[in-house]
């Protein structure tokens, strides 16, 4: 995808994600992209966000250099500690936002992280629905991102509905938890096409409609009028992202295979050195 040389696709995606966040809500940091989007949003667009430092805890943390991966490696908890009950109460009371990265998303915004093929005898067993059913039955805004927009990830119908989209899935739920937006490496998509179908909101700089169509497993709704271009990240957006993630943890999500493994280990080793310099261990244990 040809982008202007001064920014990378990960920065376009993260900035587009950041601009969706607003208000005073907890924002989960399960992935590097979600974490950086929350961090950027808090700095630039939504100062009242309460950003979590781990998937479930550490509200209003001071961001650390390894902002994102650190959470899984050391699970370091700073800020205000929460419980899992706090997290789900925040979901049920609509005080929570999360960027979900599904394996599949379909034209109605149903999402799948459970399996490819039939659930009872899957071709590929993935991980299980985790907390996505809770999000998609309670939140007033649900956010999705996919880094490799393709016929395998953006599909006509998901193999399994881990999360409830529009259409039939709404019968017993009303609007609670309905899909709001999808950001991919190609563009930004909403779900306000006919019957709640996926629609183009904007395409990233340099992305052509034909490419999007070729990489989408169904007929995308194109709103009348000219197609908008995603507003690119500003210099300030880019600076904040790069400063917050000097080890480039975010690049991991774009890689796979031996290359990813190699980078992963390198980050892991450097992370420890960084922690040594910044981790306020005494404060924590001395409480």
């Amino acid at each position: 995808m040809p982008l202007a040389p001064e920014f990378n696709v990960d920065e376009v995606i993260i900035t587009a994600m950041a601009r969706q966040l607003h208000g005073e809500v907890l924002v989960s940091s399960v992935t590097a992209f979600g974490s950086l989007a929350a961090h950027l949003a808090k700095r630039r667009y939504a100062p009242d966000l309460a950003v979590l430092s781990t998937p479930e805890s550490g509200m209003d943390v001071t961001p650390m250099p390894t902002l994102t991966l650190g959470q899984f490696l050391t699970d370091v908890q700073q800020g205000i500690p929460l419980t899992m009950e706090d997290i789900f109460d925040a979901i049920f009371t609509d005080r929570f936002r999360i960027w979900i990265n599904p394996s599949q998303i379909d034209q109605y915004g149903n999402t799948n992280i459970t399996c490819i093929g039939d659930w009872h005898r899957p071709k590929v067993a993935l991980v299980g629905s985790r907390g996505i059913p809770e999000d998609t039955s309670h939140l007033s805004e649900t956010f999705y991102y996919i880094l490799n927009h393709s016929l395998r990830s953006v599909v006509a119908r998901v193999d399994f509905r881990s999360g409830a989209g529009n259409g039939d899935s709404r019968q017993l739920l009303g609007r609670h938890g309905a899909p709001t937006v999808l950001v991919t490496d190609l563009g930004v998509f909403t779900f306000d096409g006919p019957g709640g179908q996926m629609a183009i909101q904007s395409l990233h700089p340099g992305v052509a409609l034909d490419e999007v169509r070729a990489r989408t497993g169904f007929e995308l709704y194109v709103p009348p009028g000219p197609i908008r271009e995603t507003e690119p990240p500003s210099d300030e957006d880019i600076r904040i992202i790069r400063d917050a993630d000097p080890l480039e943890v975010r690049k991991l999500e774009l890689m796979s295979g031996p290359l990813a493994a190699e980078k992963f280990v390198a980050i892991y080793e450097r992370e420890r050195q960084t922690f040594h310099a910044t981790y306020p261990r005494v404060g924590k244990l001395g409480r």
């Binding site: 781990t54 998937p55 479930e56 805890s57 991966l69 899984f72 490696l73 050391t74 699970d75 370091v76 908890q77 500690p81 419980t83 899992m84 789900f88 979901i91 459970t114 399996c115 659930w119 009872h120 005898r121 899957p122 071709k123 590929v124 067993a125 993935l126 991980v127 299980g128 629905s129 985790r130 907390g131 059913p133 809770e134 998609t136 039955s137 309670h138 399994f160 509905r161 881990s162 999360g163 409830a164 039939d168 899935s169 019968q171 017993l172 739920l173 609670h176 991991l252 493994a261 992963f264 280990v265 892991y268 420890r272 922690f275 040594h276 981790y279 261990r281 924590k284 244990l285 409480r287």
Partner: protein, 287 residues
Amino acid sequence: MDKRMSIDDVIDRIPDSATIAIGGSSISRKPMALVRALARSDKRDLTVIVDVGGPDVDLLLGTGRVKRIIYAFVGFEVLGLAPHFRRARQEATAEFQEWTEYTVMAGLDATIKRVPFMPTHATLGTDVLAVNPAFKEIRDPFGQEPLVAVPALAPDVALIHVNYADVQGNGVILGDGHVDVLCAKAAKATYMSCERILSSEELQRFGRDVQILRVYSKGVVEVPWGAHPTGCAPDYRTDLRHLQEYLKAAQSEDGWRRYETEFVQVDHRQYLENHGGPEELVSRLKV
């Protein structure tokens, strides 16, 4: 009451066909020393309940101890899919029941509150409701709102790992609590390993970080590095290198047999020695 016991004492108290709830979350604070002892035991037909499973579930499946898994998620987070879980799901060599993060919590909470079910909207509009025969669609008795009745989950045994404990069975958790408190309260018998045993007076100084109350625990085992290779914040981080070895080993039968010999069919002291001893682990994993 002095509740100290050995790892083997804990395993001796678990009968065949027991239902075991395991605390922690994926690659964070899993009671792995206890789980390894269970994996190398001759227990059969265990049912395992996890909210977010990882190496715990995967190892027990890998050594053939498990008949049935109740789970919201099983995976290795940033490292990818759980290999034995994936294989067992695809080949249907065990029974699987997919729940969700909150419904596992609600099922445990129902047992704690001695009610047969808890109501929720979660899983409406998803396929979890279709594949999970334990759930039941109901109508609220006041306004006929559609809901899901989540049945009580009643573990015989809970296994958890905490930072500190006293000999009476109070436990301090400094990082994310995950669902450990729910597991401990819901189980008929809770066994807890800990990094270090402190005096009850020292323990009380941790205030609200004393999350496991002694009235719920039947046994305490002092096991430094007892969560390894998962992390135990803030004491040590996840051992990604070990987990990468694990994933590689699980790719072939030979590899897995070697892994079992070196890291499962050995006691905890030998397990640590096979990593180069505690000093080596300190240098890599303490932050």
